[in-house]
């Protein structure tokens, strides 16, 4: 890792005359080198042990983790010792950066390696490099493509959720009594764990024989209220349950945006003779655009991780109609212990997500700029 350095433009300016004695700098450097050395020694010993070149070694790789943690702490301490004030500033960001780098970058690189192997945890032989075989298997796997297609539907459902969330936020923003009660009530679904929701709603309220929702369906003239009977219906039901838990999330964000709007603008529109409908579309909605976009983008990001409800209610059925990518890979591992193939699928999904979200942000940025130009012109 490169050493953090200071450039111009600090928010907080400090004038410090650091008195760095040579021995202090030396101690800092020595500490860092020592820590790196012990990390290296542990690594070499363990690798040799695993390769059965030497008999001494550890049962598992845990000591390497301790050595790494020690090295990370040594790095932080040496920053302060060597670079004084600058080091103390680096200490704010360094722990989080080290944490994320070691928790994300390393596993992802490792995952990249796994995804090119035929690793199956239930088979006695270890991982073996199999090149692009996983890729070939993926391109011929109808269930994976089906899951990706489902993700498109699930993401599109966000627009409906957004509309409802906006409506609810407008309601809460109106002059109403007992606003606090309604706010808490509307927020509660967000607090519930998807797993509990899948039982509460998916398995009991939608139970065909005596669930209240099924009873309601019968009352409304639906003869056979099976919510997971046909693929389309099952997908819709999953969307509904997911929407139910996450609408409050968008609602709160939009509500915050509404409350931050300048009141004068809306009043000015009213005085100019705009109907509430016009006032909303020409004043409130454009002003809310940045908040809306933030809410929608974050919601889409959460939506792309959708899995818990599907795993627990339908396990992807009927016939993979409700499968999300995550739930599909989950079963690929659960049922077949197929780590190599599952990881490749996940990696491909990650790449697709990155491409999708980057494009989305670009499009949205351009669109808002156009929208504002049109509004101005």
């Amino acid at each position: 890792m490169a050493v953090p350095g200071q450039s111009e433009g600090d928010q907080l300016h400090t004038v410090v005359s650091d008195h760095m004695s040579p021995s202090r700098i030396l101690a800092g450097r020595a500490l860092l080198w020592l820590a790196a050395l012990q990390l290296l020694v542990v690594l070499i010993v363990q690798v040799l042990h695993k390769l059965e070149a030497i008999s001494i070694g550890f049962v598992n790789w845990r000591p390497l983790l301790y050595a790494y943690v020690f090295w990370a702490i040594a790095l932080c301490v040496s920053q302060v010792l060597v670079r004084g004030e600058q080091g103390k500033r680096a200490l704010f960001v360094l722990p989080a950066v080290l944490f994320v780098v070691s928790m994300v970058v390393f596993p992802l690189l490792f995952g990249l390696y796994i995804s090119f192997t035929d690793w199956n945890l239930s088979s006695p032989t270890g991982p073996k490099f199999n090149g692009l075989a996983n890729f070939r298997q993926m391109s011929g796997d109808p269930f994976y493509w089906n899951a990706l297609k489902n993700m498109v539907y699930y993401v599109l459902a966000v627009t409906v959720e957004y509309t409802i969330a906006f409506g609810l936020a407008l309601l809460l923003n109106a002059q109403v009594r007992a606003r606090k009660f309604f706010r808490v009530a509307f927020l509660l679904p967000l607090m519930l764990s998807p797993v509990a929701v899948s039982w509460m709603v998916g398995k009991s309220m939608m139970e065909v024989r005596f669930g209240p929702l099924a009873n309601l369906g019968r009352l409304l003239g639906w003869d056979n209220p099976s919510f997971f009977g046909t693929p389309e219906l099952a997908r819709m039901t999953i969307m509904l349950m997911d929407a139910w838990t996450f609408i409050p999330f968008m609602m709160v964000m939009i509500l915050a945006g509404l409350q931050a709007l300048p009141k004068e603008v809306q009043e000015a529109a009213k005085i100019d003779g705009a109907t509430p409908w016009q006032g909303f579309w020409q004043v409130t909605f454009p002003l809310m655009l940045p908040v809306s976009i933030t809410a929608i983008v974050i919601r889409i990001i959460f939506k792309l991780k959708l899995a818990d409800i599907i795993i627990n209610v339908t396990s992807g059925g009927p016939g993979g109609a409700t499968d999300s990518v995550t739930s599909f890979i989950f079963r690929e591992y659960r049922d077949r212990s197929n780590v190599g193939y599952g990881t490749l699928l996940a990696m491909v999904y990650l790449v697709l997500i990155i491409i999708f979200v980057t494009t989305l942000l670009k499009v949205v940025n351009r669109w808002t700029r156009q929208f504002h130009q049109e509004g101005a012109g």
Binding site: Q6, F92, F182, L188, F210
Partner: protein, 308 residues
């Protein structure tokens, strides 16, 4: 003169129409509010009442206690949490409490760790300029926030194998580390906003008074930013308490959390509705309470990111 006053105080037809319109609009607003409150609360109500039902009540689809059916402790007795079983030994209750403790420890420590790491990073990024190699402040911020789009599934299987080698599989520490990673971007996102709102002059004054950078942070900034940190903490708590995916893959016997227990019970077919309802009810209860009591902070946390 009198004519005019009479006209002012008389309700003309137009006024009456306006008032009628106003009332119908009010009715519409309250109707919509009550309807959605019902939609939001009914599943919770249903779960709580079902936990007090017995077989015939469930099959008749009874809804209102004491009117439709007589509440009984069956569901809670099967969990060992009813008044008559609470002091006797119960293996189910022990199992439940073990999972409950796991969930509590894991979510509290992960949220705390995330808030500490995330707040420090957010503060540093909002006050100083860094350069890690080619990465400047905005890149570091983006690096943290970009973790948000990382799907859990991309990390799950590598972590499964890594944890196996590190002997961290089915341990609380392992799950805590992963959960911290999961909520860290949200914490950075919220806290960056909080620290930006605090004027730099406060710390400058503290520095003039002889405090160090860390001293100014701990003594001046931290107390001001505390509500924001509580908001981030609560939000992290909600996410980590409810997390299922990682827990299902990485824990089995020792470190299993509550959602995994609930899920494994739903999977088995023979389970009674009332015990399942009691279990679900007990699993969601802590967060429902938090949602009611600390609603202010949750809204503050979510709002911090949304409104710039």
């Amino acid at each position: 003169m009198t004519d005019q006053t009479a006209q002012i105080f008389m309700d003309t037809n137009a006024d009456l129409a306006f008032r009628a319109k106003w009332y119908s609009k009010r009715a519409l607003i309250y109707g919509a509010l009550v309807f959605w409150a019902f939609v939001s609360l009914f599943p919770i109500y249903w779960t709580v009442t079902t936990s007090f039902k017995i077989a015939p009540d469930v099959m008749q689809g009874s809804l209102i206690p004491w009117v439709d059916f007589l509440p009984q402790w069956r569901g809670w007795r099967s969990l060992g949490l009813s008044p008559d079983t609470i002091f006797s030994t119960s293996t189910v209750r022990e199992e439940f409490l073990k999972r409950f403790t796991n969930s509590t420890i894991v979510s509290l420590s992960a949220s705390l760790l995330a808030v500490v790491l995330g707040s420090l990073a957010a503060y540093g990024l909002s006050r100083f300029s860094y350069r890690f190699g080619f990465m400047k402040n905005s890149d570091i911020s983006f690096f943290f926030l970009s973790q948000l789009i990382l799907p859990p599934v991309a990390l799950a299987l590598p972590f499964l194998v890594l944890y196996k080698e590190l002997d961290l599989l089915d341990s609380r520490i392992g799950i805590i580390l992963l959960y911290t990673l999961m909520v860290l971007p949200l914490v950075v996102w919220i806290m960056r906003d909080q620290f930006r709102a605090i004027p730099v002059e406060l710390e400058e004054a503290a520095l003039v008074d002889g405090l160090s950078v860390w001293g100014a942070f701990l003594q001046i900034v931290l107390p001001i930013a505390l509500p924001g940190m509580v908001a981030a903490f609560i939000l992290a708590l909600v996410l980590t308490w409810n997390e299922y995916f990682f827990a299902a893959l990485l824990t089995s016997t020792d470190a299993k959390t509550l959602p995994v227990m609930v899920a494994s019970q739903t999977g088995s077919q023979g389970i009674n509705w009332w015990s399942m309802a009691a279990l679900s009810g007990a699993a969601i209860a802590p967060l429902v309470v938090i949602g009611i009591v600390l609603e202010r902070y949750i809204i503050k946390g979510l709002a911090a990111g949304a409104v710039k």
